[in-house]
């Protein structure tokens, strides 16, 4: 999508043809900076410190990270070292594991000398596939927005609530949850997005608001506490969120607080959709209770970074001195609260049967 009139993806090959460039998302929305990843350690650090984040982008970065690893050491030992090293950087998003397994599938059978070129080629493909998946998610979600718009008075916006950032900067382009929103906006359907700020890291206020603003989509930032109130008052037509992992039964791991919004949507009859590419589905886990939930540093809760009046960026301690904090990064929304999944293959119910209807190749041998 566009930033200052220039089209960006979130990850691309550098002008040297081998280093990998990404937008440093820890600097947004205060600074727009890109960084070059030149080693597998750079890629790992970018994932761990959330310079790149969002399940699909984590997968894409891991794929490129493995290409960087192959460049340094394309041996079997190099492959066996790099894959678990990258996999260990974040535990919850299954796209990370998916991308690394896909890279191993492609690279393991090859002679060492061919692995680097093959790794770059597959990483490029993974990124292109993600863009195409998100574009199709956009098409499939657009149909849902059109249905709501058809019931509105002319000019009245469709109000969509989203949590965290499942936007184009969480993916390679388009986004998952945002793809239908961008498609609708570009098609001239009036949309307005309630952007949950998404504490503690404020990816909503920092990233979703940033990218919606850059694209000209009307939106309003609200605290995470407010969405239920707006649903009670008929001011939310639709919720669309992304996910870090969907289990076989349709349970949804996503940014902490997603579960609360899903409860409120259910209580108020607001459709609650989860947008995802197939790479986010964990076919091996039967239900969400077994998903590992990442515990992140307490400082993310106790401190906040922003712009001082002089434009410089500073971090302030916001809580009572000496009080401890806990910081679980994700929660699991049970499938029963999810209206449906918006995938690159279509929209389906949040259930094993629903998912298998779209992905019949994942049926277990009977």
């Amino acid at each position: 999508m566009n930033i200052n009139g220039r089209h960006y993806r979130t990850i691309w090959l550098g002008a040297d043809g081998w280093s990998v460039e990404v937008i440093d998302q820890t600097k947004l929305p205060h600074r727009f900076e890109t960084i070059a990843l030149r080693t597998v350690e750079d890629a790992a650090r970018a994932i761990k410190t959330m310079q790149v984040r969002g399940a699909p982008l984590i997968g894409a970065t891991a794929a490129y990270g493995l290409a960087l690893a192959m460049r340094a050491d394309p041996s079997d030992a190099g492959l066996d070292r790099a894959i678990p090293f990258l996999a260990a950087q974040r535990p919850t998003a299954v796209n990370l594991r998916w991308a690394l397994e896909e890279m191993r599938r492609v690279l393991a059978p090859l002679p060492s000398a061919e692995r680097t070129a093959a790794a770059y080629a597959r990483a490029v493909q993974i990124c292109d596939e993600d863009v195409e998946s998100c574009r199709r998610i956009g098409d499939n979600g657009l149909a849902l927005i059109k249905e709501v718009a058809a019931r509105k008075k002319p000019g009245e916006p469709v109000n969509i609530l989203t949590h965290c950032n499942a936007g184009w900067i969480a993916c390679v382009d388009w986004g998952t949850a945002t793809a239908p929103i961008y498609r609708a906006h570009d098609a001239g359907i009036p949309v307005h997005v309630w952007v949950d700020e998404t504490r503690p890291r404020n990816q909503g206020a920092s990233l979703t608001a940033f990218e919606l603003g850059a694209h000209g989509v009307p939106h309003t930032i609200i605290v995470d506490n407010a969405g239920g109130h707006y649903m009670q008052h008929g001011q939310v037509d639709l919720c669309i969120v992304g996910t870090d992992r969907v289990t076989r039964n349709g349970d949804v791991a996503n940014k902490i607080g997603t579960y609360l919004k899903a409860l409120a949507a259910k209580d108020n009859g607001v459709p609650f959709y989860v947008a995802l590419p197939h790479t986010t589905i964990d076919w091996r886990l039967d239900d969400g209770r077994r998903i590992e939930i990442e515990e992140r540093p307490a400082d993310e809760v106790l401190k906040m970074t922003g712009r001082l009046p002089d434009g410089s960026v500073a971090t302030v301690e916001i809580a009572a001195p000496g009080s401890p904090a806990a910081n679980p990064a994700f929660d699991v929304t049970p499938a029963r609260l999810v209206t449906g999944f918006i995938t690159e293959r279509g929209v389906c119910p949040a259930s094993e049967a629903g998912l298998l209807g779209l992905y019949p190749e994942q049926r277990r041998a009977g």
Copy 2:
């Protein structure tokens, strides 16, 4: 309760015998400062800018504010001017209206010359009654905590989640939601409090954590998004929150986000109690849908105040530049999600019948 070993109430008469002193809660937890209110305008500003906040303390401040008004102009005109002026400062907490109506009841029949002394006397009484109410709320809630503790292994803490600050600094002393917690802690029952930070003004992280820490009660600050996750994982035994207004049918207006926690409590079988004195009950409103919800400035969402590394206090802009924000301050939790009310007269179901069981004098003439 104690701050740095000294006992404080939140509001008291100054050494001059007529000015009113309060803790400036907008400075907490970064600075502990008290301010003197010398005019009705001072009192109004303290309420409006949330130097004092919390439904019972707003009521107490309004009572003293009226005493200050009488000191300047005890005429009927003065009374008729000061009461609506103070009432207009915050719309949601019904204690404000209650305190002003109570003051009018006492003052209106008196000759002007007697009003100032009578106003101070009733304001002092209102504060003392609030302390006594909160103490009894503590006793009544303590019984609930004891029940949970009895099912625990020895030494295992009772985990209580609270939202916003319904602590002693929201009242005159003890607090509403916190009173049972302080009583349990003081009685040697191990308790641990999950403190919702409570965006946008962070009264949980700033005030509840501050006062629990000052009293030595174990607690952990969490973002507002996290409570549902902890309830799903059996780590919350009980929710206790305060309220700004309870309607006749048992609906509960409280800090924005309370509704989401009540939904999660219901979904996980966690008891959800609301602690309140009778002054918070609006007997004239049949249900919560008609409660006016205060919309506060967007800057509360878009900016955050905290301590810089050098100890100075600064405000930073945290969101994407140019993005608008909305800021509803309260939401309404339907009575069906509330396990019960903890009042100074006992614990009752969240219903008209439940409330009338404790307050039979409020039965409507049949």
